[in-house]
Symmetry: C2
Subunit: 327 residues, 2 copies
């Protein structure tokens, strides 16, 4: 199921990568553009620019109409990764050394800045008729991404974070960029106001499902499929959906048991099985699954405003895929 | 002379500060916006937004037409200061603790990002007729600021930096933002293409004069007027105009003498007098003064395309003021 969606959107991905390549062709300041190129060559699923193109077509537009905006979305996503990796002091990203580890913090700050500005350069290429709206939505959304990141950092130091706080954080840090992608696709595809609003909702709900899935997979996935350490959220005592739900619903004994796993250097397969067993008993796993299911259902409802088309089918397939996501 | 220009542009400054204040009224993520507000309250001369308004009026527009763009220019200037201070590991800025020292590097990265995005939000408010052009010029110029900063950092590690390299660096890091200010003023004021090009040149030359003056003042100013340590460029062995000119024109003995001052913790008044005497003998001081004079003269020539007006008078006064600048 996973591969079907990505196979059928392969051309969308290639088109965006080519477009981003064009933006970077001419320039001479190697000290700035080497780290920029490196960051942009990291690969990834390019889900946001794919979404922008599919939603554009789903409201009757041509994917070409949204190509620059789609490229801007990927650029802004990479900008946030480069700066977040500095803040989180992460050494690896998508199987490669992070920019600030390969060069240094200064190079990574500047590379992130330049990628953000490149994103705005791409926004500057959209149809002038839509430019004011696109630019304002774009800036508003990226500000929310920054707010989400600030909250995420703040949460690490706080002990009173609630599930509401959590959703307020991931809606900004993760979901808003998915929602922006779908919104811009619908705007630049010439969709109606109702369709634009519906696509915006589709993206928000999809993003929320995506993030709670992410939290779930950190516990449930097997090492190789995930591509990073399983249980890292638990080791780092992160404020994920699972952790916050557990805090609210576990008894003292269960909390004590779980606490013994936090802060460890390594969690073995048997440790993880114990953790999963405890979370299962509390009802955390079921609650997270339900949360994902609800969000995907809400996303599915917003597709009803679209006429039947291959693109709408793709948006629906993406929801199916997320429901069964293991990557 | 200094106070006359700033007295007569006082209203322009106040208007921009008020405008920036409006942008920051509504928001709830204290972790992000406290450092943002702090950075924006640092004061400063607001020369760039003042220039945008004066050039706008000088081509026949109303300063109101350029107000959002003017605010964007100040925001982007502060963004670059916040990130540069991290990179240069500076503790103080305009007599206050820098953002990354008052909070931490993460807060300063995020605050800088948010201020840059706020700048683009402000750009999004300009007259839609001009938006594509303004946005593209804005992004292109800010990218150059990043390139200039990358070069500046690179130069620290290089021993073969020439005066040409130096001008290529300061034209991007410093002059382009002045030039953007004048360019946007002329565009949004409805100036002709010739006037826009002339204002662009005025800003570039002004910016170049401003930077070489800066290099000069680091040696010639007295401590109190400058508001920071005199001779800090020499202590840090920075690639300034003075230093690069000196390298090309000094004999071995003079170079040896100057070298003994680099890397010192503190340069006393007598040390500085010795340095100045050596630079005088080499011809460095005279060459820097000539460079400033030439740039200001070129800037003055570009004013010829403007009809006589109070605003053109102000642009001319600014050149006079820079020629005698001691701050």
């Amino acid at each position: 199921m996973k591969s079907e969606f990505f196979e059928q959107t392969r051309q969308y991905k290639d088109r965006v990568l080519k477009q981003i390549g064009l933006y970077l062709e001419i320039n001479h300041t190697a000290a700035l553009y080497e780290p920029v190129r490196y960051a942009l060559q990291a690969g990834g699923k390019l889900l946001r620019p794919i979404l922008a193109q599919v939603t554009c077509e789903a409201v009757g537009g041509k994917s070409q109409d949204v190509l620059d905006a789609a490229a801007a979305l990927e650029l802004v996503h990479v900008f946030s990764l480069v700066h977040d990796d500095i803040m989180d002091n992460d050494d690896m990203r998508r199987g490669r050394t992070t920019v600030h580890k390969k060069w240094d913090i200064n190079a990574a700050i500047l590379a992130g800045d330049a990628i953000l500005i490149k994103a705005y350069e791409a926004v500057g290429r959209v149809n002038p008729i839509y430019l004011t709206r696109v630019l304002n939505n774009f800036s508003g959304a990226i500000l929310q991404v920054c707010e989400g990141q600030a909250l995420d950092i703040e949460f690490e130091k706080r002990d009173d974070v609630t599930l509401d706080d959590y959703f307020s954080m991931i809606d900004r840090k993760t979901a808003r960029l998915f929602s922006l992608a779908c919104e811009l696709g619908a705007i630049l595809g010439g969709g109606s106001e109702e369709q634009i609003a519906a696509m915006c909702t589709y993206g928000m709900k999809l993003g929320r499902a995506f993030q709670v899935q992410d939290d779930l997979l950190d516990v449930l996935a097997d090492q190789e499929t995930l591509g990073k350490d399983v249980g890292s959220d638990i080791q780092e005592d992160k404020k994920t959906f699972l952790m916050l739900y557990t805090r609210q619903h576990a008894n003292d004994e269960q909390l004590q048991q779980l606490k013994s796993f936090a802060g460890r250097e390594h969690l073995a397969r048997e440790d993880m099985q114990q953790v999963i067993a405890i979370l299962d008993r509390i009802g955390t796993i079921a609650a997270a699954r339900q949360e994902v299911k609800n969000a995907l259902e809400e996303a599915r409802v917003s597709l009803a405003l679209l006429a039947e088309s291959n693109s709408r089918e793709l948006l629906s397939k993406l929801l199916d895929m997320l429901e069964q996501r293991t990557f």
